[in-house]
Symmetry: C2
Subunit: 342 residues, 2 copies
């Protein structure tokens, strides 16, 4: 009978397990951004968090003021070849026409129904606005939420054959979690529709609806036949949350200047300027899409012609360099792009 | 030398102190609303919190969805004889005219400068809008915040001779704290100016600026001579956060239906209807100003002629009774009104 050695083996195994656990914990503590490669971008984020959360630092920020804002399309998830919400609107057209058959032979609905991709690519911004108004308004808030929820559960991105909500960037999820673990409130500030993004923001990004700022239309209060009140989505734009509309939207919806802001296109320029114009430590970052293999490469800074969607112009690149904004290279700074990456 | 008895006396005193402290704590635990008299209003609040926070209850509400909205004027603080923000605007007129002397002989500024209270009482809603636009817009967000902060530090209510921010109702402060201690996010939803209320909401109510929904004007992004960006307050109304504008504003700014809503006038009717139309436990309450001695009594339900400010009409009272909204009698339900009350 050798009770003590066997106990000792158990102890040794237990100790080894405990040490491994401790080691993993220590590793997690030293690497809060595991999907990032080491480099200036990662270092800037870690330095910013340390500076603003260390009470002894002159750059300390009280917890209540810790606000970080994130553009969505191209910053938190894939925006190519088409914004997900535009895809939603185009795919909703048949259902809208089924309810209003008079639209069947009217442009731009006729073109969308034809399924002719070449013709659809030629739709103007005015056509698109008409499609957005027809597919996003005129229904109750609850109906809209139900429609988007249903679509998101079924629709798949044509390249990855996965639900759109899986196309969120793992390194940015790291940043969201890291900032929240350090007392930051993380907001989405998107040119996309506020109501659309709110449907999935909590499950996809851990961001509750009240922390989504987006382009927003008005609603109209009314009563159904039973006298129950409800809100109808109106085709009236209250906030065009892009370009200068981003700092304006931040003031309207949050009322505080962010300490950190993340974007990827000219539409985010003013948000980054406004963030950095505040006193103390400020973090302004731009995601550069320069990874044609793992995601997409676009914009002149990636050595490619500029595009309409997510335009990262040379002027933006120059302003970033001049103002000390940090450009994130997807190719070099991101170890993994998606959670489903090996 | 009697060291032990003296030690014992000390112990006894200490123990008595400890017991008193424990007793106070136990009392606080059983009475989360110490400024309230026992009665149906207090009981309704306590029952609502118990129902919605007890995981075993069919009415349990997940923490993320716990939203409570509060009107401000007449619900969280005194609104008579004039809204505090209107007082601010009137008192700002001389400073505005000093900067724009051409307004000196133009109505309605001329009347305000005269100080003639009878003439001022006859100002129309259009006059008032002109005064609001002149005193609240055309300056940067930072200038506005600084002006309001300065005014609040100096201005005093004519009846109580105290800063306006001390005229908040202690029982409602109890409710705010009690709800927050139970995981509720407490929002102000006011017809008053969002930017105005945000200046003092955190210190006065413990409510951060991002949880203040109010009537909101647009801002315009621009740059100063040094190229630094700033936001100018524009005379363009984005959200008239009163009546139907309250549920519309709640949708815009929060994106969730509240579980509890508190108001005191017809301007809060739609917010209460919208709150109560949701499924599960909902709490809709109205403060009735029926205490002419300790505060004010107004509205037909208080047996007094209806007034423009904070109109609590008979129709509202009837809807409250019909829909099961709970009317709070300041006179009977509130043990103390202000923190400075004996």
């Amino acid at each position: 009978m050798k009770p003590i050695p066997s106990f000792s083996v158990f102890t040794r195994i237990f100790t080894l397990g405990a040490l491994l656990a401790l080691g993993a914990q220590a590793f997690a503590q030293t690497d809060p951004l595991p999907a990032w490669n080491d480099g200036p971008a990662k270092q800037a984020i870690v330095a910013f968090v340390k500076d603003t959360t260390d009470q002894a630092s002159p750059k300390f920020v009280p917890p209540a003021e810790r606000i970080a804002t994130f553009d969505q399309d191209g910053t938190l998830w894939v925006e190519h070849p088409m914004y997900t919400q535009v895809m939603y609107c185009l795919e909703r057209v048949p259902a809208v026409v089924a309810k209003k058959p008079e639209l069947k032979h009217v442009e731009p609905f006729k073109t969308v129904l034809s399924g002719n991709r070449e013709a659809m690519a030629k739709l103007t911004m005015k056509d698109l606005e008409e499609i957005l108004a027809a597919t996003l308004t005129g229904i109750s808030v609850e109906e809209f939420n139900a429609e988007v929820t249903k679509w998101l559960a079924e629709a798949k991105d044509p390249r990855w054959k996965r639900p759109y909500t899986e196309l969120t960037y793992l390194p940015m999820q790291d940043v969201l979690k890291y900032l929240r673990a350090n007392g930051y409130q993380t907001y989405i500030v998107t040119g996309g529709g506020q109501d659309f993004v709110r449907v999935y923001s909590e499950t996809t990004y851990g961001i509750p609806p009240e922390q989504v700022v987006g382009s927003a239309g008005g609603t109209k209060y009314g009563y159904d036949k039973a006298g129950k009140p409800f809100l109808t989505k109106e085709p009236k734009l209250l906030l065009n949350d892009d370009n200068a509309g981003k700092p304006e939207g931040i003031h309207l919806m949050i009322g505080r200047r962010p300490y950190a802001a993340f974007g990827n296109s000219t539409g985010d320029r003013q948000m980054l300027e406004y963030t950095q114009a505040g006193a103390g430590a400020r973090l302004a970052m731009l995601v550069l899409h320069d990874d044609a293999t793992r995601e997409y490469a676009y914009g002149p800074a990636a050595g490619l012609p500029d595009t309409k969607v997510g335009a990262f112009t040379q002027a933006l690149y120059d302003e970033a360099k001049k103002d000390g904004w940090i450009v994130i290279s997807m190719k070099n700074d991101w170890k993994r792009i998606f959670a489903f990456d090996p």
